[in-house]
Each structure stands twice: as C-alpha cells, then as structure tokens.
Symmetry: none
Subunit: 194 residues, 4 copies
DNA sequence: CATGAATGAGATTTCATTCAT
DNA sequence: GATGAATGAAATCTCATTCAT
C-alpha cells in the first residue's frame, strides 16, 4: 500500500483517463488495470478497494491544486488580486488537463453519497483558502465586514464550479481562462450598477 | 401511461421518499412500488422504465418550481426584488420539502450522464427565468449593461445551488430561508466594499 | 367457451395474423386481443389459456386441411393420383394463406414440448390420410408391399414439410405449387435411375 | 473466451444434459452452471451470452457430425453406398447420444427465429454433403439426371429428420439405426413398385 | 511482488391471468 | 357477457474482489 511506488501514480493516472473516456459507471477496475498496464489483482496491492482509487484521484490532484493556489495567492498583495489569481489558476489547471476536468466536474459526481462526503472532506482545504482570502480582504478593508464569510465562500466556489461545469458540458469549446476577469469582477461587485 | 391518474402521482411521491431515505443506488423499483402501495408491475403501466420515473420526479416537481417562480417574480417591480423573491422561493420550497431537497441536491446527481442531460433540459427553463431577470435589470438600468448574462446566470445559479447543497449536507440543521437576504445582497453587490 | 360464436373465429384469425407478423415469442395475448378487437379478458371467455388459443389455431385450420384432403383424394382412382392431389392441395392451401404457412412452419414450432405434443395429436389425422393412401396403393399393387408404411409416411410427410419450410424460409419467393409434380415423382420413384 | 480450455467443453456438455432433461425453456444459465460445476459468472468468461451457449452446442456437435459424414462417405465408391452410410451414421450418432437427439430434434427448435437462422447456417454444411452425393450420383449415372437437386435434398433431409424426430417423440424405444436400410431403399426407389 | 481466472450476489422488466365493475 | 387495470413471479448478466500459483 505504498503511495510512493511508481505503480501507485500509474494507476491514479490510468483511472483519470479511463473515467474521462468511459464515464464513471463504465470505469471498471479491470479497465483501469489494463490502462495502467497491471493485472486486476495488482490494483489491490496499492488500493483498499475501488472507492479508494477514486478518492485518491481526487486527493492527489486536489492536493496539487491547493498547493498551487496557496503559492500564487501568497505572491499577491491585495485580496482582489489574490481572488483573481485563484480564479485564473483554477480555470487554467482544468483547461490544461481536460480529462481531469471531465472527471471532477461530471463523472465523480455520480459516485455515491459516501464517496462524495469524502471528496467534500478533501475540498474543505480548498474552501479554507477561499475563506482566508475573504478574511484577509475584510481585515484590509477591501471587503464588506458585515458579509457572511460562509455565504461568500459558497458564492465564490459555486460560481467557479458552475462556470467550469458549464464549460465542460459545452465540450470545452471556448476559452475558459479568458472568463476569469469577468467572473472576478462579478464576484467582487455583483450584478448591480455602482 | 396517463399522467393524471392518481397512481401516477402516488408513484412519483413514493420515489421521492424512497430515494431520499435509501439513496439513489438503493432505490430499487420494488422499494418504490412497495412505498406506493402497488405491485412492481404496476409501475410499468405508468412509466416506461426506471429512468422515466426519475426524470418524471424532476420534471413534475421542477415544473411546479418554475411556475411558482414566474408567478412571484411577475408580482415584483424591480429586478432586485424579483431576484430576492426568486431566491426566497427557491430556498423556501426546498426547506418545506426536505426529501425533495435531498433528492435534487444529492441523489439525482448520481444518475448517469444521459439522465443528467435530460435533467439539464428541464433545468434550462429555470435558467431562462434567471436570464429574464438579468435582462430586465439591464433594461431598467438596475444592472450593469456590460455584464455577461451567461456568467451572471452561472453566478446566481451556482451560488444558490451551492448554498442549498451545503445546507443539505449539514443535515438541514439551520434555517435556509433566512439566508435569502444575505445571498441576495452578495449577488447584487459582490464582496467588495462600496 | 362456445366455439361457434363469432368472437371465437375472430380471435383465432387474429392469432394467425399476430403470430405471422410478430413471431411466436412476440405474440402476446394483449396483441391478439387488440387485433381481434376485444378486451384482453374476453379472450378467456373463449379460451382456457394462451396455449389453448394456439392449439385451436392448429386444430381449426388443420381440420379444414384434412377435410379438404379427404375430399380431393376420394375423387381420384389410383394411389399415385391420390398422392399427387394431396401434395398439390397441401402446397396450394399454404400458398394461398401465407400467414398460416409462416405460423405452422416456423412460429408454432417454437412452442414448448407440451404444446407440440398436442399439435402432433392433431397432425395424426393427417398422417392417417397418408397411411390410407399408402395401404390403398399396396392393395392396388401400385406400391411395394414390403415397404414399411410408417417409414414411407415419414418420408412423404418429411419431404412435404421440409419443402414447405424451405419455401417459407426463402420468403415464399417462388411458386410452391409448381413443385408438386416433381416432389410427387421423387416420392414415387426415389433418386435412382430406373 | 478460449474454446480449447477444458471448461469450455465442460459447459457445452452440461448444456446438452440440462436442456435434454429440463427442456429449452427451463434450461436456465444457473442450472447449466451448476451441472458444469462452475459459478454462474464463469459461464460468461467462455460465452458471450446464453444464446452463444446454445449456438455453440449446435456448432460443436454438428461440426463433428459433418466431419464424420465426410469421412465415411469418402470411403465408399457408389452414390448409393455413400447415401447409406450417411443415413446409418446420422442415425447412429444420435442413437448413441440420446440427450443430443432430444436437444437437436425437439428443444433447440423452440429457440427464437434469430437463433434458428444461425443454426440453419450450421446446417447448410450438412446439406452441402447431401448435395455432393446427389451430384456424384448423377455424374455416375446412378441417379436421375433430370432430378431437381434441391428437391431431392429436401426429400432426403426431410425424411431423415422426420424419422429421427418420430423416434425421439416415441421415447427412443426402438432401434433407430436398424431403420437405415429401409429408409435408404425408400429414398432410392420411392414407394412405387418397380 | 504480481497475476488473472473464478466467484456469486443482486435488480429490472415482461406478460399471462384475474376479478371487480 | 365484456372490460382492462392490476398483479407478481422469475431469469440474465455484471463486476468488485479474492487467492492459488
């Protein structure tokens, strides 16, 4: 069950490809094994069960996601700038790994409640990053101090997520990253005229 | 296959209860039949197949949803007011039918891609309502005319959806409807200080 | 259960049409009822069960078959002539009622062993007709007296049956009746040169 | 899906036994699996689906049939002798494998049209053997050159088939092979006195 | 460490038949 | 006599997981 052996990554990568190409319900363990170039039984030397593969896909990739986010955010001075690079990076990473986009936005959502709960656990880390930006913005007098942090986080995450999902459903046929500034503006200022 | 016979509604209602209580993947046709108080075979006098039951759950309830929305929205003068009653009603309807909330926010999303496509078809009607409010707001000089309608709609729907889902995941333990004004304010003004 | 009421015949006729058009396994009772223009339940006022419909189809039509045979055979003097008109009539009747041909040669043979046993019971009458011709031929010194009647009957029936079945399988695209003289000659003289 | 692994034959053999003992419609996959001493799922490692098992039963056994025929026929000089050994062997093989006789003469004929079409495809090979004998006989001036090959083949096959079926229906209670010379004589010379 | 053949539980759907009206 | 809505039993096939090699 060593997570640093090469076959571990191999299987995770294979799972992303297989799920993206076949859909969640057609991603059988034997297909993942074949794509990874290992025997079916070998999967179980590295993962507890099928659910463990899926949650691991999310954890590994989302871990990279959050690390990346923290890095680029730290490099910015204002909350507005931090929010912008976060959105840009979110869009950018998924634009570049289109299979991952399909898997996280469409396929993995078909998993059962229990798996989704675990995925939410992983997501929390990402939500903390959003919260940090929001609190930082309030402290810097950039953001409204009366604003409910939890609701604002739901707005930010919900908007980003819905935007990416719509892009995936439309077969990724437009430039997602290009939408970042407009989304950023909307999240900062809302719909109303100023 | 008549949709106005009492058993049709009876089965739809049973499906909502069974899915909410057992989860999507444990909602066997025989469980739904038992809950509805009919024989398994009777289900197939009213629905083509299992998928048809699930689609119908969504269509029937969402149909009511959209009708209700259009009604309350028409009664308001400004875009801001229209948006507020839309959010209030969305939250309110799901607050009152907690099983439906579980089914739409968590369970039905586990369905396969094809079923989700059909659900999206039903959802489009709701998204049109949002679009109408946004365009109305622009025409009335309440909303920013440079705003991308599609992105704004994604923000509004994404925020509402994420808020409801979070509430469901947290076992519906707080008052969802009470959040409507704060969500409304966020959507109108964003996070930034004015 | 009166067999002389008009609906009895109506249902038999409907059964032939439905089986010919849909095949044995797709000939549901409800389809037959619809074709006959009666309610499903009405079927059971005239027939014990589905099997009874099928066996009745065979009995009614084959009854006519045998009557016809006896009639035309009685009008001929020699065994050879009797055999010829029997073959001609067999081919002719099925040529004219192509649905019946499909039903007797292909579809009804898919029925279960029990039903086929009953059909064989009905067929026996027809086989007796053949036996009568054979014995008459032997008495008249037209046919070989050492010949095993049972085997000869199997040859005659088997040949006729196989010929009709082949014609049905080939979509009845050639003139079956035209084959009667050649089949007759073969049955009388065999393959060997004289 | 390897056809040379021992379990492949094992399942075919089990299918013959189960179908013969229970009838076509009562030959569930689970019964066949049990008879073969494997798990239900194992069946599907060797066969596409249930129909594939049935086709394979026919193909495997009929393949042996045709091979055997060609062999014994090649060893004879005259068309008459060839025909005789063909009939003898046909009767003999089915006499020795009585379950197979039940399956081919009664049970497999209950299959749906599609399966029967496939079975006919396999049968064609056998019919070619008959045709070859007939043409050989004509070339050797043993058989009537004016004879329609197709009709003669239908007579031969129809007679043999009907003879075997009658024997099976009568519970195989007489010696089928003993009938071969008489059947042979009938096919060569017909019913008529010479 | 790695393999892959074997396992076996579990669910949708059809359709002959009934019976209250 | 006639209706037709309701019944409910029954069977194929999939696929995650194991374990002998």
């Amino acid at each position: 069950m060593k997570r640093n052996k090469p076959k571990y990554k191999q299987i995770i990568d294979a799972a992303v490809v297989v799920i993206a190409e076949n859909g969640y319900h057609q991603a059988q363990v034997s297909k993942i094994a074949k794509q990874a170039g290992v025997a079916d039984g070998t999967i179980y030397l590295y993962f507890e069960n099928k659910e463990d593969i899926l949650i691991s896909v999310f954890r590994e990739r989302m871990g990279y996601f959050v690390e990346k986010m923290k890095e680029v955010i730290a490099g910015k001075e204002t909350a507005a700038e931090k929010l912008l690079v976060m959105i840009e990076n979110h869009f950018n990473i998924l634009s570049r790994d289109r299979n991952l986009a399909i898997v996280t936005q469409l396929e993995l959502r078909q998993s059962n409640k229990e798996l989704r709960m675990q995925i939410n656990e992983v997501l929390k880390e990402y939500l903390h990053v959003v919260d940090d930006i929001l609190r930082f913005g309030q402290a810097q007098d950039e953001f409204d101090k009366n604003m409910d942090i939890r609701l604002a986080r739901q707005m930010i995450f919900g908007t980003i997520d819905e935007t990416v999902t719509t892009w995936v459903i439309n077969d990724q046929k437009y430039d997602l990253t290009a939408l970042a500034p407009a989304v950023h503006k909307l999240l900062l200022n809302g719909c109303a005229l100023r």
